[in-house]
């Protein structure tokens, strides 16, 4: 095979058995890779009703055919499993160097099953695959664990994906971190890894990714890269400000959720913006493997901030440097908690990296707790500290407490849905299917509401990034307040972003590239004559398979909904004042565009058409 290595590595953690098998070529063709092929294997092998944290659940790391090639942004792997936050099929994506190393070692997929009796880590060095004891690392943060594992392997170029204490402690939104700062962040994939007693996976590959037509790939990549180097967002916006470029933009549109979605503009957005970071704290840009955009931020905490917060980044001589924050994180830890202190955000974000937490769900859960505290539902005795909106110190203290499930952190570790229910106020949960919203108010941007409600992994901005049309005007400007055409937009974006995920590419390249720039890459790498339609079709197929999996898991279509606050409480001020989400106008149309039944189920004809029958 070309593009794909053709080999699946399977490790049974219960027995220690390590096996290699051939990648199913039909599945590879139809589901492409990454998110798609991972879903296909999960569909085949895991009962959707299984407890996410039981040994019967499997943890799949899946690369795509472009992972490890020179395709711009071809750095990606997808973690596919059943998630403990949502109960849905969970697909969490990460860049850095780990995915390419797995390909160079000779594997498209890594399937982990069972549960190790004692903590272990997996070491993959080309053909050498072994489980090693990790008891000495249990309880250790991501930064020190990575350094220790790399020291133990002794092989330069080793990339490590691991969990921190949050994953070990089964925090429902624990992440898997690789290369210290890149994260398969959402939905609790780290808790699944922790439930398997698997601390980390170190991988180094010295082999090649063979491609069907190298010259065609070189030419297609050159063209792809040219587009990225000319499009304003990928050539200027992202390199200059990272994704944090969005902070001021979204705030100006009155779509920046503030203080647990009670408002939609943050009066101090400027203080936590990409512009502010670039002027005062940015040390360097950092790219993932093969990325020609380099949105990653290496940043330093300010002089003044150092008096309050010490970073435990490692190696210790980083001189107060860390990475991030990303827009979503600066929003959740910042605006959503009313925190305008960029140093507190950097500190909390670094704790998330080290303890292995998803900053979006963490920040949003703390914001929900702040609302309960201000409403008099939670007392200082219960939270262990004053918890008003805007408190950077509480944010930092609770980030740490959550990773270790200490004190009130034990409640926060359950996510805002369960935490709100426990204290009798389920209405403070701002999310869908148990997963917290990211950083765009669905009342101000109607398309985002539909995207959140229908995402197969619970609320997510990456599946249908209608912001592109509603705010940026790409590929065509659309009125953010209108519901017309949003169903078609959401479906198109979901299918395309799914195909991008499956190929092993980073979705951020869609800020510059269109699908037509990417199709020739996939075709040249695999030698299969994909055209744009075939890739969109693959995206649709994967989307439908994920939907089927969720239905079998017992996630009813009635869960395609938004919290009451989004549907009934109008935005109080700003450009989108008076708006609520009009989801009910869009959802039936969405089901129709998907070709599903009016109650949101793919029917037999649709499944047959997609080859899923």
């Amino acid at each position: 095979m070309h593009g794909w290595t053709g080999c699946v590595l399977r490790v049974d953690l219960s027995t220690g058995a390590i096996g290699r098998e051939e990648l199913n070529p039909d599945w590879a063709r139809d589901f492409v890779g990454g998110r798609g092929i991972g879903a296909r294997y999960l569909w085949q092998e895991v009962d959707p009703q299984v407890d996410a944290l039981a040994p019967e659940n499997k943890l799949i790391f899946a690369t795509g055919p472009l992972t490890g090639t020179n395709a711009s942004c071809g750095s990606r792997y997808m973690v596919v499993t059943k998630g403990p936050l949502t109960g849905c099929i969970t697909t969490s994506n990460s860049g850095g160097h780990w995915g390419p190393e797995l390909k160079f070692a000779g594997y498209d997929l890594l399937i982990l099953e069972g549960r190790a009796e004692r903590p272990v880590y997996l070491w993959i060095f080309d053909d050498v695959v072994e489980l090693r004891p990790a008891e000495h690392l249990w309880g250790t943060g991501v930064f020190d664990s990575e350094d220790a594992i790399r020291r133990e392997t002794g092989i330069p170029g080793t990339s490590v994906a691991c969990i921190g204490p949050a994953g070990e402690n089964l925090v429902r939104y624990a992440a898997i971190l690789n290369d210290k700062f890149r994260a398969a962040g959402r939905s609790g994939v780290g808790a699944v890894m922790g439930s398997k007693n698997l601390k980390g996976i170190a991988v180094r590959g010295t082999g090649a990714v063979s491609v069907a037509d190298p010259s065609a790939l070189m030419a297609a990549q050159w063209a792809q890269k040219q587009v990225l180097s000319e499009a304003p967002l990928t050539s200027e916006g992202l390199p200059a400000y990272g994704t944090l470029a969005l902070m001021n933009v979204i705030n100006e549109h009155g779509a920046l959720p503030t203080r647990n979605y009670r408002e939609a503009q943050f009066e101090e957005a400027e203080a936590i913006s990409g512009e502010e970071l670039a002027q005062t704290r940015l040390a360097a840009n950092k790219a993932c493997f093969a990325c020609t955009i380099a949105c990653g931020r290496v940043s330093r905490i300010s002089e003044e901030g150092r008096a309050r917060y010490t970073l435990n980044t490692s190696p210790r001589n980083w001189k107060h440097a860390t990475e991030g924050p990303e827009y979503e994180n600066a929003w959740s830890l910042g605006a959503d908690c009313g925190v305008a202190d960029l140093d507190a955000i950097l500190k909390a974000n670094t704790i998330c990296n080290d303890l292995g937490l998803d900053p979006i769900s963490l920040g949003a859960t703390i914001a929900a707790a702040m609302e309960l505290y201000e409403g008099g539902v939670l007392s200082e005795e219960q939270t262990g500290m004053p918890l008003p909106f805007g408190s950077g110190d509480a944010l930092v203290a609770l980030s740490e407490a959550t990773g270790y499930r200490r004190g009130f952190g034990d409640d926060l570790a359950e996510g805002s849905k369960r935490m709100g229910e426990k204290y009798g106020h389920p209405e403070v949960f701002m999310g869908v299917k148990g997963q917290e919203f990211p950083a765009y108010d669905p009342r101000a941007l109607q398309g985002m509401g539909l995207g959140y409600a229908t995402s197969n992994r619970g609320a997510c901005h990456l599946r249908a990034y209608t912001v592109a049309a509603e705010v940026v005007g790409e590929p065509e400007p659309m009125d953010p307040r209108a519901t017309e055409g949003k169903a078609q937009l959401a479906v198109d974006m979901q299918n395309i972003s799914t195909a991008v995920d499956a190929a092993g590419l980073c979705v951020f390249l869609t800020f510059g590239n269109t699908l037509s720039d990417l199709t020739p890459l996939v075709a040249a790498a695999t030698g299969i004559a994909y055209d744009d339609d075939a890739l969109v079709r693959a995206g649709e197929r994967i989307w439908n398979l994920e939907r089927l999996w969720n239905l079998r898991a017992g996630i009813d279509p009635s869960e395609d909904k938004l919290p009451k606050r989004m549907l009934e409480d109008a935005i109080p001020a700003g450009p989108a004042r008076g708006e609520v989400s009009r989801l009910a106008e869009m959802l039936p149309e969405y089901y129709a565009v998907r070709g599903w039944s009016p109650d949101g189920r793919p029917d037999a004809a649709k499944l047959a058409e997609l080859g899923l029958g």
Partner: protein, 159 residues
Amino acid sequence: MNALQIHPEKCTGCKQCELACSWVQTGGFQPSRSLIRVHIFDEQASYAPYTCFQCDEAWCMQACPVNAIDVDEASGAKIVLDEVCVGCKLCVIACPFGTIFFDKPGGVAAKCDHCAGDPACAKVCPTAAIEWTQADPGAWIGPFGDRVDRDYRAAEEAD
């Protein structure tokens, strides 16, 4: 004569240079076979691609017992003559910079040959951290090395 001028402050660590080099060397994508390697200086929040400096007084060439390393007339690069090389690795030991590699099939040494005057790494680098230009190829390493060294010491003292 043109040389590879490195600007470490511009490098983002993307490894497109390694991918391009390995493609020239092997026809595939295999960074482990690249003759230019990106080094990560975490403590500097910096990266630097690193390859043969094409020394005036090339120790690799002087060490070779069978004269398998020669100067390419067109590009001025020191190149390994595969058919002459006997695989003794003396050049690998002699090079003070660790930029001769010994992982090419056939048991011969491999080093940067400037792609016969049109280096692929410089062409693909998205940030112009590698420039193919009239320059002293070793000029950047001194100041960069001094900075790394100084910061390491300062950090050690602070710890």
